[in-house]
Chain length 165, copies 2
């Protein structure tokens, strides 16, 4: 999509198209519409990042809490967003062995228990092995540092979703 | 629901239950979970209001842009949230005459054009006549004042949705 075309969209069209570049947070695209016109796609992306960075800690945690578990119940029940389903499937998370699945479930539960939000990673920049490895490593992080890192992953996911539009 | 029970909810359960007290903005409930334990329901409501008040103007506009038009296409196509459908129906917006419907459509379009967000009003505290009258009056507001007023309506809607839980 051309950035000049983006700049002519009504907020309704804009939210329809960009509402899920941050998973289940249409509020963010809806807010960023106020900043148009955008000079380029990176400019739009920077406006989204800036909005996220300026949220209080609770708001950033809220964004993470709108994300599904990786290889979690939603993947198998069909209640994921199309974007998330595609990304998780591409990373091989839809075809884990029962042992891998049960390990992911245990690590996800431990992570959520420790940080109060789900483990978020840009699945398309990883595969099933590296995802489990990162999850396992990040379980030991300091909470403030982990929030920062998870928000960076949200931005990477957003970057790739924007590229698909 | 008892506030002690609310305080024991996981963020996933909390977002399932409270995710739409602000229309299509689960991010807000997900953020406010960080503030638990809540001493009372008014304390939870105040945390939501505080989160909204602390957003930048673009974020508050973003919340409004996640709301559907009143008596708009979504009401008739069945794509409203259950809460919004109930509220709009109760206010009589599902049974407008063709002339009233076309007047609402015209006023909504004019309003969105002027302010860049949809007309938001607590439908349950109004009826079809007062809704059209307020919409017509508020079209003449100063934009900053109108944003403030619309955000107050979001809080009234939130108050009644919380009471239903």
């Amino acid at each position: 999509m051309d950035i000049r075309a983006v700049n002519t969209l009504s907020y309704e069209e804009f939210v329809d198209i960009f509402g899920n570049v941050v998973e289940r947070c249409p509020l963010i695209a809806a807010a960023v519409w106020s900043r148009r016109p955008f000079s380029t796609f990176p400019d739009l992306e920077a406006s989204i990042a800036e909005f996220i960075d300026n949220l209080p800690v609770s708001g950033q945690e809220g964004i993470l809490r709108c994300h599904p578990d990786l290889a979690g119940r939603d993947l198998f029940s069909g209640s994921l967003t199309p974007e998330s389903r595609g990304e998780q499937t591409q990373a091989g998370l839809a075809s884990l062995t029962p042992a891998e699945e049960s390990r992911m479930r245990r690590l996800n539960a431990e992570y959520k228990d420790r940080f109060g939000f789900p483990f978020v990673i840009c699945a398309r920049m990883n595969d099933r092995e590296s995802i489990v490895q990162r999850l396992s490593e990040r379980l030991g992080s300091d909470p403030a540092e982990e929030l920062r890192r998870a928000v960076e992953e949200v931005k990477k996911i957003c970057h790739l979703r924007l590229r698909d539009i």
